[in-house]
């Protein structure tokens, strides 16, 4: 037996027997050889190559970079952007100052768009009937498409809610070609009309569940206009000019956070209090004391905005209330070329009446209704940027071009056309949406030809490209429907409300790691969603944060972790859409839970179940106990008494003489900061800050150089952006054993990555906790994400400390070429809350702000003398 085993063993393990034949001397000889070979391999003195261009290049537009105007499709409408391009690849997105709907600012979604363009998980190869194909074959398939029924009664087009005149024309053509085909958009962003408001003229504003400062495609100009008016009152120190904002809401909103008074009620009660307001205005007495309290201020040139998804009659009610108040919005016709509804098409599909479906908006077809309906469609031709549930069951997949790879024309809600100009050749064989549709119509022209021939006939094409806007194209204005009698909504024990996620929307940005990791306002969650409950309800259910609950509804059962907040009313369950995808890439796959189909569903029971889910939250406490988190003031603001600067034992850094150039500083206005997180995303893309992933966020290893602290006291919210303060007496500098963080002559606290050995003493000694440590090689992102890196900023390695540099690359470039320096966070801010500049320049806004009576230093008792200071919060009368 044992002999047999030995034989077996020796047959199995021939290796060791042979290796032992190597004697000691020979072994050492080989060891020496291999180690010297390894060493020599590292001593390669092969020079780097310089590869010139073949043809002489035209001069760069702006110092190594070129800027092109384009349009970011945000919720179907245009956000004008300027894209910075380096050697043919886009590296940064800025707002287009010439565009009336962005004015140089952008949303966080536009900032992070490069992480979608260079996403390694994009669909890269076209599939035809399950087989890999070339783009020419795809074109052939589309050109030769003939439906079984020539009128197209068995064809469905699932179209995006994109407001592009050319797309509308193409779809109208298609409808003429196939008069019986179904056209419908699954997008939750679509609406019949869009109403815009001039908030600068409004004295007092009351919103019902509508978040004016986030989510809306025009939030940039709404927040800017509102804060411009508020700043005017502050600058002139006149309380009677101060505008007022009141919010009745069922979910936490950014407008509510900036409001002077807000009320949290259930979704049904929001609608009913809007009706109370109407009754009060019409002279009928109601029992709603809150509305009565706001009424006198509202009657002085007020405006009311009601969330359109609240009730089918919301638009009519808003129009009627506003007719009493004097102000009103302007409404624009934003209907899509649809000819059926989603439920009708789904019923048709389930009955087997649809043979071919062109799915041009796959990311909104993930719920069970769509999935089971699509199951019955034999031919599914899907056009998508990323894989998802729908592409997984499609017969033909045509990869979509990213908006930075394709031509387009997108309208603002007012119908101002913005040319979407591609910045880069498509990275993979893919088609833009317009090309897809024109191929179906038998038009073989390239995308550029389609747009150029169209717009050249109507306008100055070169000028339109340069500015990004085609002037004079105004959409049809429309009036909101009128109605006199409204019914009240019943208020039930539980109500469930699914809101678009503030960062990834309804899931259209779910594949974007930067947006996934962007901390959400109020919840401070990243990478997942939660069920928001009030404190009372949590007590009743005996649940704590992260405990799982089960919500049984008419639409099925929803299970998810609880997050307790003071910003919802009792009986409300708030959750966010966009999560719970199963067949996406690693970024979106299995994050959070799918909530979309539960919006407004009737809840039968809510119960606690076993289990917990740990959240990846960046801020765990929203309070500061007795210490006021931020300073507030009321108009008129008085100069606070001069306090002695606290003593400091840190070394003095003499400020160099006048001719040594600017001394840099920053002010952040806490009155105007709306907490939209666009600056955080801008900072991240400008400074090559890696995302770290859900597990690492749970360990608090996120790397955002700029964080927005949220402080919530019942229903009063404060936002406080905290970058590196660039202290004149910096506690971090003295504790560094290797001089890796030193004081610069421009007043900057400089971080030298190549000296850093990673002791993390500096971070421990920083009272503001703004230093971030690379616990892992986070910067080694999969290719081609690295193509979006800013070439002017070092990519940091593992074991290195990093922090806000005041965008030193921009300072250096500004000093070099004599331009105004603007940091990335400052450029992107819609309300101009962040101001950066030379403290020595008397005329600069930052120097003026520093002299303001509202100016104060964070933790001034520490005596760190920070170069970044804050302006106190001022609110209107409650």
């Amino acid at each position: 037996m044992s002999q047999m085993m030995d034989e077996n063993l020796s047959r199995e393990f021939e290796g060791p027997a042979e290796l032992s034949a190597l004697d000691r001397r020979e072994f050492l000889r080989y060891l020496g050889l291999f180690s010297s070979m390894t060493l020599l391999a590292h001593c390669s003195r092969k020079p780097a190559n310089i590869i010139p261009f073949v043809n002489e290049q035209k001069e760069f537009a702006v110092h190594n970079y070129e800027y092109y105007a384009s349009a970011f499709p945000s919720r179907g409408f245009a956000q004008g952007v300027l894209v910075k391009s380096y050697q043919g690849r886009p590296v940064k997105i800025e707002g287009n100052p010439d565009h009336p709907w962005s004015r140089g600012a952008t949303s966080a979604q536009a900032q992070a768009a490069l992480y979608e363009l260079y996403h390694p998980g994009r669909l890269t190869t076209p599939l035809i009937n399950g087989k890999k194909a070339k783009l020419e074959d795809v074109r052939g398939v589309l050109l030769s498409f003939r439906p079984q029924d020539a009128k197209g009664s068995d064809v469905a087009f699932i179209i995006p809610a994109l407001h592009s005149p050319t797309m509308t024309e193409l779809l109208t053509e298609l409808r003429k070609k196939y008069p019986e085909a179904s056209f419908v958009s699954p997008s939750p962003w679509k609406s019949d009309s869009f109403t815009t408001y001039d908030l600068e003229a409004v004295n007092s504003l009351l919103t019902f569940d509508e978040d004016l400062f986030s989510g809306r495609p025009d939030y940039l100009i709404l927040s800017r206009a509102f804060m411009k008016r508020r700043k005017m009152a502050i600058d002139t120190n006149s309380p009677h000019l101060l505008n007022h904002l009141y919010v009745v809401s069922s979910s936490p909103t950014l407008a509510g956070a900036k409001s002077d008074d807000q009320l949290f009620v259930s979704r049904g009660a929001v609608w009913n209090s809007a009706l109370d307001l109407l009754d009060e205005l019409e002279g009928k007495k109601t029992s709603n004391t809150q509305i009565q309290k706001w009424l006198p201020e509202l009657k002085k040139s007020g405006l009311v905005v009601i969330d359109r998804s609240l009730h089918p009659d919301a638009g009519a009610l808003e129009a009627l209330i506003n007719s009493h108040l004097g102000h009103s919005g302007k409404s624009w016709d934003t209907r899509l070329p649809e000819n059926t509804t989603v439920t009708e098409l789904q019923a048709k599909m389930k009955a087997g009446a649809i043979h071919t479906a062109f799915i041009l908006e796959a990311e909104f077809t993930l719920d069970s209704d769509w999935q089971s309906a699509l199951e019955k469609v034999p031919v599914k031709i899907t056009h998508s940027l990323f894989p998802n549930e729908t592409t997984a069951k499609s017969t033909t997949i045509i990869p979509a071009s990213h908006w930075l790879e394709a031509w387009g024309d997108i309208a603002t809600p007012q119908g101002l056309i913005t040319i979407q100009q591609p910045l880069i050749e498509p990275l993979y064989p893919s088609l833009g949406i317009h090309r897809f549709l024109s191929l179906l119509l038998g038009d073989k022209r390239e995308e550029q030809e389609i747009f150029e021939s169209k717009w050249r006939a109507k306008t100055n094409w070169e000028e339109a490209l340069k500015k990004g806007v085609v002037s004079g194209e105004i959409a049809k204005s429309t009036t909101l429907p009128s109605k006199k009698i409204f019914t009240r909504l019943p208020v039930s024990r539980w109500e469930i409300l699914v809101r678009p996620d503030p960062s990834i929307g309804f899931g259209e940005h779910a594949e974007n790691p930067v947006l996934q990791e962007l901390p959400r306002p109020f919840t401070r969650l990243t990478w997942s969603n939660a069920l928001l409950l009030s404190e009372n309800e949590a007590d009743h259910l005996k649940v704590k944060n992260e405990d799982l609950i089960r919500v049984k509804t008419e639409n099925g059962t929803l299970e998810g972790p609880v997050l307790i907040t003071s910003m919802v009313s009792d009986g409300m369950i708030i959750t966010y859409s966009g999560f719970g995808k199963k067949k996406g890439t690693q970024i979106s796959g299995n994050r959070g839970f799918f909530a979309d189909s539960f919006n407004g569903a009737k809840v039968t029971t809510v119960e606690k179940i076993r289990g917990k889910k740990r959240f990846a939250r960046v801020q765990l406490s929203m309070h500061m106990d007795d210490h006021p988190p931020v300073k507030t003031a009321t108009l008129p603001v008085m100069k606070p008494p001069q306090k002695a600067t606290p003593a400091s034992f840190y070394p003095e850094h003499p400020i160099p003489a006048q001719e040594q150039g600017p001394q840099w500083g920053m002010t952040i206005d806490l009155t105007t900061c709306i907490g939209c997180e666009a600056c955080v995303a801008a900072c991240q893309t400008e400074n090559n800050i890696p995302f770290v992933g859900e597990d690492q966020v749970k360990k608090h290893r996120y790397l955002h150089w700029l964080r927005i602290d949220n402080y919530i006291d019942e229903k009063t919210v404060f936002f406080q952006p905290v970058p590196c303060m660039h202290c004149e007496k910096a506690p971090c500098e003295v504790v560094c054993p290797v001089n890796a963080t030193v004081h610069g002559n421009g007043g900057l606290n400089e971080m030298v990555y190549n000296r850093c050995v990673g002791t993390r003493y500096c971070s421990n000694n920083c009272p503001y906790k703004v230093r971030r440590f690379n616990f892992r090689s986070y910067s080694a992102v999969p290719k081609p994400w690295n193509m979006g890196f800013n070439p002017d900023v070092s990519v940091r390695d593992r074991g290195v400390m990093e922090k806000c540099t005041f965008c030193v690359q921009r300072i250096k470039s500004g000093e070099r070429y004599g331009e105004t320096v603007k940091t990335a966070c400052q450029t992107v801010c819609p309300t101009e809350a962040i101001v950066f500049g030379d403290l020595r320049d008397e005329k600069s806004i930052v120097a003026e702000n520093k002299k303001s009576p509202r100016n104060y230093d964070l933790l001034e008792e520490e005596g760190t003398r920070p170069r970044t200071s804050y302006l106190k919060v001022i609110r209107g009368n409650a």
């Binding site: 020079p47 780097a48 190559n49 310089i50 590869i51 010139p52 261009f53 073949v54 043809n55 002489e56 290049q57 001069e59 760069f60 110092h63 190594n64 160099p656 001719e659 040594q660 150039g661 030193v742 610069g744 002559n745 421009g746 900057l748 400089e750 030298v752 990555y753 190549n754 002017d792 900023v793 070092s794 540099t805 030193v808 690359q809 300072i811 250096k812 070099r816």
Partner: protein, 186 residues
């Protein structure tokens, strides 16, 4: 008390002297090695796909550096001439020579030549040519007497010490800021 025998004493003394001498030797050797031309590559030539004679083009033909390195006064990099620039002259001049064949082929086949880099600073240094030109630093200060180099060789060590030596001497109003870390690293 522990006592050393005379022979032990002698041995210990010798060992100590050897250790100190050895230490000094290692430090000196390291310093010399680090500053040797083997490491700094001063005086080092690189083999190039075409033996481009700077001396001929500048000293003999009188072309200025900016004739080919066009962006040097505007951008961070000086710019290497495109194949089109080379071909622009060499489609007429020396048009049938064998040693210029790679240049002609590179242009015609649209496959640029791969020059070997001679002067380089590490990736974490953000060197800006135009700033130095504007401050009046001549090309020769860093690249040496290129006008008399038949083949380009590295003439200055381009180490941080060497950069700082110059930055410290500057009398410009910005001289204090020139010594900030962020001037070159960020």
């Amino acid at each position: 008390m522990f006592r050393l025998s005379p022979s032990q004493n002698r041995w210990l003394k010798q060992i100590l002297i050897m250790l100190v001498a050895g230490g000094i030797f290692v430090l000196t050797a390291t310093w010399l090695f680090a500053n040797s031309s083997y490491v700094t590559k001063v005086g080092h030539y690189e083999e190039q796909p075409v033996p481009f004679p700077h001396e001929l083009h500048t000293n003999q033909l009188g072309l200025h550096c900016t004739f080919c390195h066009t962006q040097v006064d505007r951008e961070s990099t000086a710019g290497i001439p495109s194949m089109e620039t080379c071909f622009g002259c060499h489609q007429e001049i020396l048009k049938n020579t064998e040693f210029l064949r790679p240049v002609r082929e590179a242009y015609q086949n649209k496959k640029p030549l791969r020059w070997n880099r001679v002067n380089r600073v590490p990736d974490h240094v953000y060197f800006h040519h135009a700033s130095h030109i504007k401050a009046g630093v001549s090309c020769e200060s860093c690249h040496g007497d290129v006008e008399h180099m038949p083949l380009i060789a590295k003439e200055k060590p381009l180490t941080m010490q060497w950069c700082l030596d110059c930055h410290r001497q500057q009398k410009s109003p910005l001289n204090q800021k020139l010594q900030d870390c962020y001037t070159c690293h960020r």
